[in-house]
Symmetry: C2
Subunit: 589 residues, 2 copies
Amino acid sequence: MESPKRKPGCPLQLVTLNMDAKKCEVNEDALGRLEKRLKEMGAKMVAIVSVMGAFRTGKSFLLDLFLRFLKWEADHPEEAAAARSESQPARGGNEDFPLPAWITTAGANIEGASEDDEGFRFKGGMDACTEGIWVWSEPFLRQLNGQEVAVLLMDTQGAWDSNMTKEQSATVFGLTAVLSSKQIYNINMQIQEDKVENLAYFMRFAQAELNKAASEMEREGKPLSREEIDRPFQSLDFLVRDWRHFRDDWTVEQCMEQMQQHLSRHVNPQKMVENSTAEALHAMFKRLQCFCLPHPGLIIEKDTWTGKVADINRDFIRFMDLYVRDVFTTGLSTKNILGSELSTMSFPHVLRNFVDAFHDAAPAAMSFTQAMTNCTVLLAKEAAMKSFIKKMDEEASRNPRGMKPEEFTSISRTVTQQVEDDYKSMTIFGSDDTRKDTWTEICKNLDNLRQRYEEDNARRLEKALVAFANISLIGLALFLLDRISDWTCDWWSQTCTDLSKLMLLAYVLIFGYVGVQAYLALHDRGRVAAAMAGGELWKEMVRLMGLYGELLQEMELKEVPGWLKEQALNLYNQATGGAASSDSKNKKD
Amino acid sequence: MESPKRKPGCPLQLVTLNMDAKKCEVNEDALGRLEKRLKEMGAKMVAIVSVMGAFRTGKSFLLDLFLRFLKWEADHPEEAAAARSESQPARGGNEDFPLPAWITTAGANIEGASEDDEGFRFKGGMDACTEGIWVWSEPFLRQLNGQEVAVLLMDTQGAWDSNMTKEQSATVFGLTAVLSSKQIYNINMQIQEDKVENLAYFMRFAQAELNKAASEMEREGKPLSREEIDRPFQSLDFLVRDWRHFRDDWTVEQCMEQMQQHLSRHVNPQKMVENSTAEALHAMFKRLQCFCLPHPGLIIEKDTWTGKVADINRDFIRFMDLYVRDVFTTGLSTKNILGSELSTMSFPHVLRNFVDAFHDAAPAAMSFTQAMTNCTVLLAKEAAMKSFIKKMDEEASRNPRGMKPEEFTSISRTVTQQVEDDYKSMTIFGSDDTRKDTWTEICKNLDNLRQRYEEDNARRLEKALVAFANISLIGLALFLLDRISDWTCDWWSQTCTDLSKLMLLAYVLIFGYVGVQAYLALHDRGRVAAAMAGGELWKEMVRLMGLYGELLQEMELKEVPGWLKEQALNLYNQATGGAASSDSKNKKD
């Protein structure tokens, strides 16, 4: 007997794969139909339960069992309430677990085994059935924390089959992560690090998208709390199928205890040797759980199985019964995206937005080996550049006045050789070609750098005389003073004449000194280099004059005597070992 | 009955994990023992069969069956030869597959289930048993292509358990790849893309090490063929356990056909949407196969199973029998590393070398998400730098004479803002912190770049007058000529006086023009800038003078009239539209 509220429903393909454009698309027909049903039901909020995992690991079979449970609870609310408090025969005893009402009421065969639209289609066979993202057309109205919420069941395409591009995988699984209140990661046999990492990869991808959306919101003046950004997802269950390690004589509690241990062994950062991925998962999800289901029996796996409920292993049904109650009763909450609850109104909008966003971001999706190849190549490039820069800087600081061009060429060649030797001992993923191509690219970059260093070196060479700018300025000043005194006082003052002679001696010495230095520095580089260096010396002198001029302007002229006195006092203090300053301090006291 | 040649043997741990140093180490005791046995046996060449895969997927169980087979064949050579031609009841009929002699002769229980050293220890339980790399202490002498070869059986630690660091995983699995003639990748249920990629990751790692070794050899003058470098590994089997898809009524041939299909669906580049990883695998291995084994029965999985042969599913044994013959008879060859066959002498040396090499390379090992994070971060950095450089170069080329300092500041600020906006829309893996840290690092790099552009800009500003160097040179020359004529001929020649006046006019005009330009360019930048620009102008003039001087020296002075004539002819030709040149051509005809 169906309740008048509930329509039978069918699976709707919400997101389809467009193989030509290598992208995913929203199926607007299906979304429209779902939107209409959400409006009719009248619930304001949405909760989404999704199942993801590798292809052909029984995801749709699981969803069909979920459907049986949800339909039965919707149709038989009183019996459902009664069933919750019913006690079951303990595990490990001789009594078989009785088939619960929810699994038998809808018929002797599980829906998905047949070709009609009664359930999510699953087959035991070799071809994966689910493509893109599917959703059950009929939301289920349930009470969560006293609120009436529309619960949606979502099925995603099997991961790591060979018929999706990286872009599409990133979209399908990223979208699932962004939209789900509860995400069930269906895995076979046991939690393994590779599986955890593959999951974390898609979660990271989804998180990157949410980060972008968050920074968009911040720019629009809607700041979010750190918690909302750093912990963007709600609940994740590792659902281990075909679990082999429940002993026949254990109670349910002992089995639960083992599930906890299994989770903590593989996803507890404290217990792991390499814990960055586990830490990241814990940081991203508000709730992380593990549930193990035993093997439902080898007959279920055959192509020829018709979906007969009676064939399913009773221990499997016992744990399934526990799990389904946990998922839809205690473990579920409304969907929350970036700080706001997902409503029946906003759901279609959010879905469309994120499909677009993931498509734009998809080129960043790559395989593990691609990522490693890119990563090692980029790191090698960075290391080569850094090492070249470091070594050339060292050489340059060893020759502050510049190296001769031929010397520069030989040094830069040696450094390049060293960088190449270092490069050869670096680990580069990929074929020999990748290795060679990377080196070619590095060479191109090094050439650019070498050019820059060559220019710097040339400039340094030109500045060979710049260090003499101060002393030349003094010489120039003395020369000018001498000229002035020739005209103004030499003809009447003996002091002036004497000073004049002194100055003459000083500036002749200075110019002689600078001249000799210039000759030493430049005699083997030709006249042009000498003239260029002269030009640079002139520029430096002009710059210094400007500087001193500004300095003088800044100090009021009146302050000059005070400043001079201060300098003299400092000198005196230095000479007497600070006795004067301590004296003045004492006086103040 | 054991053959006198063969000792019982036990598992030896060749490579151990050192958890403190996060590295792997060669167990010298075990290696010494193995080396001694290899010498005693007298075979020259080695073939190594190794099994790798996730933890607790029945690798050791498989190896124990291999051991039974190898021991039996060694002890019963005649019966083994006879068994090869024996026919078996066809699959799909009513007759059960009989237990082959090799599986029953050694006893009713498989060795590894007990605690003694009779086999590779396996347990059905939750704790993984194998750590590091193990090898069976007794090599088996077998005839491969008419050559007597020592066959070693190797067991590797389960991958993707949480008790190995990335460094150790890279070493254990890389080493297995480098050393194996035949590598058996033991996987559960089906080939999946994630499994293929995880495998390819370790193979890439091993390949990178071999590439390094190859380039070392090349440097030492032992060049290798491209084939040896690009296809470094020999044989890889995907061994799918618990395969569900053999129909009960199929023949063995139909099952084999299905295995082929399964392999090609997931590892054939032509059939896959994303084929780079599959292509890489095909490029790396000389031989790539798939073999599927059905489920050996749920009882085998229980902790309580004692290893009773009779419990094992007969269909499993049928395919096991086929597989074991393929592995050790048709599918095996001697180990070849980088062009040379591995001998019993070189084996210990090669093992030690590669353990060291992998340890040195290990820091490059990282998890998928780490790799993606690094990759996106490095790419974002590169993109930001490139975009900044591109935009600043555009701005600079728009202002060839430099921008005013305040203009430069505002432009560089705008460009930085644009780069930041672009950065925000980039996909970065990792938390919000990663995003912010990356931006901080980019900012540091941008600051360095900005400084460089600022210096370039300042230099460009200083060169404001450099464009006038040529015309100033002419002015200077005219001025000098005028002076010379003042002293030499103005007092006796009217022509000289007239020319002098003309030159005076010309150089006054020139200096006036340059002066106005200088004023326009520099009037709002102060006297210092003007003097600096004067210095640069001087330098450029000197440079040009040097250049012209060299040019003149290069041309013999005698050539000058000829050169002038040529230039004049060119001018004439241009004026007459090439008529002269065609005339001269006609004359030649």
